[in-house]
Amino acid sequence: MIDFHTIPSSHDAAKASVHKKGTIEHVWDVLRSVPDPEVPVLSVVDLGVVRTVQLKGQEKVSVDVTPTYSGCPATALINASISVALEAVGYVPEIHTVLSPAWTSDWMSEQGREKLREYGIAPPSPCGTRGADLPMTCPHCGSSKTKVVSEFGSTACKALFKCESCLEPFEYFKCI
């Protein structure tokens, strides 16, 4: 079951939205206020998991969400958080899980990448470079003298690195 206490109850961004309720822009504002439960600095929109949003009439909202990794335990929580956020401002949401096309880290927004870097996580390289051992820049000191510690980090989407200049460990959001 989902622990609803972990879902933020106030959606300030949505309340501060300049768009009028009942418009698709307003729905996107609400979605931009929903954080990813594992990397809360990113919104679900930054993460690129919200694929399609449809507004039917003034209240009914249909949202297509795609999972990042097949086994990502946050998927259910992401869907629940989206529902709760939309219901909190009076929408009647319907969430659909879509698998195709498969999520890629290329869908992460530019703004999201910048937020990740500030948070101390190296943002994903372009998906086409998958498998290539690219030099990774340390998000703490900017050095490119880094080495991979493990392909798998604290969540399925991240790898572990170590900076050989500032000696800090850091995580890299894998390209997939």
Binding site: M1, P67, Y69, S70, G71, C72, P73, V98, L99, S100, P101, A102, W103, T104, R130, G131, V149, S150, E151, F152, G153, S154, T155, A156, L160, K174, I176
Partner: protein
């Protein structure tokens, strides 16, 4: 994604095939998860849990679809927890015991290389749901192959001890690889309809990848791979699957329908 209409026979064959895909993922996912709290280093402990999560996630998608195709009201959990050993269609390779970390890594490499090639083929399946799950799996499996291949190299090229353990692992596991490439008769109609992929189609590619990795690691691959049992399609398994299921299914068997 529109649902495809199948004849009763095709639907039955496809259900069985999709269950086989799910069972492979679940059984290996459960095995790898046994390392949780026991792996040789914390980074490996974390890696094993992540490998397992990917596999169990893939299994869940395939089970959900198998349940839909079967149309008998069975959920993904019913299919995973309420079927007996002889109903499981996983390849015998994935149910083999973890052994030491070297054996786990060799088993993981042999299977993920197979699963990656199979998923690459299935990503072009005429069944849109299978294609979608396979496309998603490919991206994850690329990391599984890279991770396990790196560890085969590291262990085999590191110390004498590591080398001998990787050699023992391949000697123990090799006989189970022949089953991976049997084009089973029950699935032939699915192959010709472009719904499933005949494993013989990518056997050569698999052999070339596997041979090149083990040659690089200085490991000798056994000359013969013969499996004595009739294997998964006849409901035959090694003694290890029953023990794995007993542990994995205990809670749902003791308290059917229990939810967290």
């Amino acid at each position: 994604m529109g649902n495809v209409e199948y004849s009763q026979d095709a639907r039955k064959a496809l259900t069985g095939y999709v269950l086989g895909l799910a069972d492979d993922c679940l059984v290996l996912g459960q095995r790898v998860a046994e390392w949780l709290g026991h792996a040789p280093a914390m980074e490996l402990d974390i890696a094993c849990s992540n490998l397992s999560l990917d596999l169990i996630g893939q299994a869940q998608f395939y089970y959900e679809y198998a349940g839909e195709l079967e149309n008998a009201g069975r959920s993904a959990d019913d299919l995973a927890f309420m079927r007996d050993e002889h109903e499981y269609r996983n390849h015998l390779l994935v149910e083999q015991l973890n052994g030491d970390f070297g054996k786990t890594i060799v088993r993981h490499y042999l299977f993920s290389q197979f699963s990656l090639l199979r998923s690459n083929g299935l990503a072009k399946s005429n069944d849109p749901k299978i294609a979608a799950i396979a496309q998603k799996s490919v991206r994850e499996l690329e990391y599984h192959v890279k991770f396990s291949a790196d560890w085969v190299r590291r262990l085999a090229l590191g110390t004498e001890e590591g080398h001998s353990r990787i050699q023992t692992a391949i000697d123990d596991l090799w006989s189970f690889t022949s089953e991976l490439f049997n084009d089973v008769e029950q699935e032939s109609a699915l192959f010709s309809a472009g719904l499933a992929v005949a494993p013989s189609m990518f056997e050569e590619e698999w052999c070339s990848q596997v041979n090149s990795l083990f040659a690089e690691a200085g490991i000798k691959i056994p000359e013969h791979a013969t499996l004595i049992t009739k294997g998964r399609m006849a409901g035959h398994h090694t003694e290890h699957l029953g023990h794995l299921l007993a542990e994995m299914q205990f809670l749902q068997r003791a308290y059917p329908g229990l939810a967290w």
